[in-house]
Point group: none
Chain length 199, copies 4
DNA sequence: TATGAATGAGTGTTCATTCAT
DNA sequence: TATGAATGAACACTCATTCAT
């Protein structure tokens, strides 16, 4: 029996991506075996290779498409406040960062913890995309410093931006939706802390 | 005479720990093979088992001794400011956190990224130790809120503490000693941002 | 009208045979994957099976059609000297063997080195065809011995024939067309050596 | 149970070599699976890697040690006739070639048919060794031509040498010890043909 | 006739671990 | 305490082959 009825190409690839995301999040890239992955998708291990090049390529595809979607969503979200002051833009950035990532905790996690499993050409590509994201926040801080709203020394601006991203990303780790705190509460807390940190 | 001359037991174990720290930091626990580890130590793989129980046990030992040393150092560092106000204690905490970890970046990294490679009983032990560390910061924030120095809502105090730890830990990631910024500069920046975030 | 315009069947099959010949010559039958083969032909691997039965069948087809063509060409070439003396016929055989095979080095190579990859019924068929070729030379030697032109002991005649074929076939291996030596030079050398060996 | 009593390192390696020789001879290098090999040796497949680097390395080791032994034996066998005339030396060469190889048919076979399975650095090494062997015969022919015993054109000497090796090596293929023909008979026939071919 | 997706057996190789020496 | 050789399970990946479309 060659093909199960109802299994089509794109669907299968999507299922592979979804299952890989989950397994890598749970056990890590190295600890995820392609047998587990295939099993979760409902195909045999050899069939995976009709859809992916290699295991590493699968990881790269995951990270890459996450970063692409993230950057596109960022641009869209920030377009509305492009002409505004730094404070308003920082508000928008925090709101975007938290609300976008809160539904993508697995992607966030593997984007940071599994980068090292990529080899050089692909590693560099993802790092470069991440830098574009960071640069967005850096630009906001620079604007705010220029406008006198934020008090950071010029040479510390990138450092401060990384720190803020660390703060925000940590939120995504400990926050559990459905708990006492709503996402709006989280955004409020993070916004207050971020604005305070650069005040 | 506890140790016969020529017995390198503790020395070998130390070498194993140091090499494991480096290899896990570089490639991750799963990707570190005991052959690599033995090779770096200068013994054969079978000989490792004269010093360790299992691979997982080695990881646990690393994390455990790191956490024990961390907690002990924290207690010692904070003893001097125990009776002081929250601001002074937060100052001290930031200084301690940064200066202690800055020379232990590998331990910091694997403490967060390789926790998942531990199985339940050992996983829980490390998590509990980490919680003791976090609780120290939570207590400081509670004191500060009580004294009116910090403005966080009561129910957000743990969340704020985790955020601050995220901020501080992110510092350790991007900071490169020997660059434009000194450790004192880093502490100054982090202190300002942390105090601002809870002000 | 036997073939509809646009039907590339025979063309595709020819391309498969040519590509297989080249790949088996380069890497060996076992090392040639049907994916490589399909890729070189410009189709997908599944499509191969519209033209071949199995991989082994493909090999058999290659060897078989080579041997059939060889035997036919031999008969044709030797018809002209059928009635002549053994020396003339040996001359003609050497000339035929060298000139026919020199443009078919790949076929020669795989005919000897990949025979073992055939399973029994097909293996036997090829071996039988090869024997017919060898028998032709044996008959010439027998004639020559009978006529007193060649001095080989009767019971050694097949052995001598195999040796001569070894000598001739080795020529095809080291000879590189376009070098110092022309094909006529090669035939001359081989003829002299072969005739000398049986003199 | 870690080790079967009575299985020691060098013994195991020898067993691996012997079994590999047989299996490669029977099925070819590509078609020999390491599982088959291990099974024939009586160990598990993973254990092979305590003795070999890779499968290719095993093949190289086989070919290399065969060629080394061959060259050493050649030097020893030809030492006695070093100062003699070309005819005597050619006699000795034929005798050596046949008698040495006749007990090593498997090595002869894989030395020619599995060379292509080696990658470049190792391939070159074996080819270079083989050339040293061929050069020995070429030198004898040159001497004979110089002494007026052999009648080959100067520029054809290497070609003639390769042809003779082809003749001799073909003998090893079809000869079956224990048949009508003794090894001495074979040597006699080959000697007569070889000397005739260059006369 | 070509294709993409599937299969299951198989590949060489690495793994953590054991243990007699 | 160190070693070399063993184990068996696992690894990522490839194979020839099938077949609905």
């Amino acid at each position: 029996m060659a093909r199960t009825i109802g299994s089509h190409g794109p669907t299968t690839l999507n299922a592979i991506h979804e299952a890989a995301l989950q397994l890598i999040f749970e056990h890590g890239y190295e600890a995820m075996s392609l047998r587990d992955l295939a099993g979760r998708v409902g195909i045999r291990v050899g069939s995976l290779y009709n859809h992916i090049e290699t295991k590493q390529d699968l990881l790269f595809g995951l990270l890459c498409s996450h970063m692409e979607a993230l950057l596109a969503a960022l641009d869209e979200a920030m377009a509305a406040v492009e002409a505004k002051g730094a404070k308003a833009r920082l508000h928008a950035f925090v709101r975007f960062h938290v609300s976008y990532h809160i539904t993508r905790k697995r992607e966030v996690f593997i984007s940071t913890s599994e980068l090292r499993s990529l080899d050089t050409p692909q590693y560099d590509i993802i790092v470069r995309m991440r830098r574009r994201y960071e640069d967005h926040l850096i630009a906001i801080l620079q604007q705010g410093v220029g406008e006198g709203d934020f008090s950071i020394q010029d040479q510390d601006i990138p450092a401060a931006a990384y720190n803020l991203l660390g703060l925000l990303t940590s939120s995504l780790t400990w926050f559990h939706p459905g708990g006492r705190m709503s996402v709006e509460d989280l955004i409020a807390l993070d916004t207050r802390m971020v604005l305070g940190a650069v005040a």
